[in-house]
Amino acid sequence: MAGRHQAVSLDAEISVTVGEFELHLDLDVADGEVVAVLGPNGSGKTTLLRTLAGLQPLSGGRITLDGQVLDDPAAKVLVPPESRRCGMLFQDYLLFPHLTAVANVAFGLRSRGASKSEANDRALEWLGRMEVVHLAQSKSRHLSGGEAQRVALARVLATDPKLLLLDEPMAALDVGTRGSVRHRLRCHLAEFTGACVLVTHDPLDAAAIADRLVIVEAGRIAQQGTLKEITTHPRTTYIAGLMGLNLLTVSANGTTLTLPNGATLQAASPASGEMLVVIAPQSISLHLERPEGSPRNMWPTRVSEIHLMGDRVRVLVGDPVPVAAEITAVSLAELGLTEGSPVWASVKATQIDTYPAHGG
């Protein structure tokens, strides 16, 4: 495990068809690595986890974990879920409602051959590690969301999985408790030596917990890389939106960038061909009058939507360059903007980050 080079633990080439839906993606995860799979609802994230856990057989491709083939339709290999070492933390935890917390944790140990007293001792030990040993005798339906998550995590980790699958672990929690639960989950995952795949639609979870991100859209990988790579150069509008960035597709000719609708922007550095442009909403300024001074890009437009986000405000403007600008609540009040207001938008050429639309 602690070898000089990290061996790939999970090697999955996934191809599955469920009704109309198709999922095709490759996923490699090393021991000790946490990979977050992000995507909109219905993109195939949960289906991915179900194929890895053996709850959904592949239509094509192959899943190998630690050198053992788990699913390979071509070779007619399919290891049933109970014989895999792929522990899954289900979205709503699925603690058995008729059992106490300690019996829930002992269930997996008993299933894998531990004696009654041994299973009970180890279950209590795991509950202790998750700091919920005082809840050992509680029926699981009486636990709060955060408590249930810890018991469920104890239950899955107690079976010593080689691959840990987390399905939206924060989705069932109140917004107020998410922060502390996320922190705790990160601490427990740091001690986990196997491979881990975390499915979420919340970039905060991904940023806090994962080493690497895989973005899935419509059953395919849209982009993968570190959080930094993805936030600086998002490849799709979904990803840019997830990171709160403006993404435009342009064709570049020198420093002139032409949008599909014919509008142009000026960039600082020259480029050519099909390019993507990312503009941070904070670098777009809004003015009531045509601005004086340095910005090379300015255009009159109208406010289409206003979203309040605490003390910051997102103002979406319409054609010719539909983007979101982020300003303070104070500026919004000073500008007196409402939906439909005419406004001037400006952005410095140096704030326009251009990169090739394909590859990279």
Partner: protein, 267 residues
């Protein structure tokens, strides 16, 4: 009276019909209770004739309930959890005895398990097993008629149970059998108990199929309902006493089921 109260009053016509319905359901029971000779009730029930019927009814209905559990639960599981072809046909077949006149069921059983029949002949010549005019026949008739209640209840419970709990159990390393015993059965327990009670009550009251298929032999196939019917012509007091015993059982089952059903609704 406020406008809201007036608008909520049900129509008088409906109330009248509903009251008649209640009377229709209640009067026969009242008749049974008033007709009973309470003084001789205990003596009537403890006559050898009644005791034979009571003992036989208990034995047969418990056997039929046990058989229904052993045979019915796996079928309910197959109907609820698999996608085998022909499931709907099998389900229809399983439910058929609920709507089939029991006497027709008895005739059908006779044609299948009679001594000269399709299955009856080899069973008799190979194993010496015979059903007509035996207690085994009475058990078979009761099982045939009562088992659908178990299948229907358990299948519905399995369907409404979140099967992801079974996936969670498999994910934790539990095989199919362990998952069924430790997760599925406890989670459908309220419905399983309700279905078992219903099945038992139906088996206990079985008349048509039993008398047609197994006959009416005291101590061997003459269960309580058969005894009641026979005694009504000669000794009404004993018939009423035995009817009261059956009524008491029905009420106990109903009351206990009510609690179970409410319990099953709670998450």
């Amino acid at each position: 009276m406020t406008a809201a109260e007036r608008s909520r009053r049900p129509p008088v016509f409906v109330l009248v019909v509903a009251s008649l319905t209640v009377a229709f359901l209640a009067v026969p029971l009242v008749g049974l209770l008033t007709k009973a000779s309470w003084g001789t009730l205990w003596r009537d029930l403890s006559s050898p004739f009644a005791l034979d019927a009571l003992r036989l009814s208990l034995i047969c209905s418990l056997w039929a309930t046990g058989l229904s559990l052993v045979l019915g639960v796996p079928l309910a599981w197959v109907l609820a959890r698999t996608r085998l072809p022909g499931r709907n046909l099998v389900r229809a077949l399983a439910i058929l005895p609920m709507v089939l006149p029991p006497v027709v069921g008895g005739v059908a059983l006779l044609l299948a398990f009679g001594r000269d029949a399709l299955l009856g002949r080899p069973l008799y010549s190979l194993f010496g097993i015979q059903f007509p005019y035996t207690t085994a026949g009475a058990v078979l008739a009761e099982t045939f008629v009562a088992m659908p209640f178990l299948i229907v209840t358990v299948e519905a419970a399995l369907r409404s149970m979140d099967s992801r709990y079974e996936e969670a159990a498999a994910n934790l390393g539990a095989g199919r059998w362990r998952t069924f015993r430790r997760v599925t059965l406890p989670m459908i327990a309220p419905s399983l108990i309700a279905g078992t009670a219903l099945t038992w009550a139906r088996a206990l009251g079985e008349f048509g199929a039993t008398i047609t298929f197994a006959g009416d032999i005291q101590g061997r196939t003459q269960t309580l309902p058969l005894a009641v019917y026979l005694e009504l012509q000669s000794n009404e007091g004993v018939a009423v006493a035995m009817s009261l015993a059956l009524l008491t059982v029905s009420i106990v089952v109903l009351v206990s089921l009510r609690g179970r059903w409410l319990g099953a609704i709670r998450p």
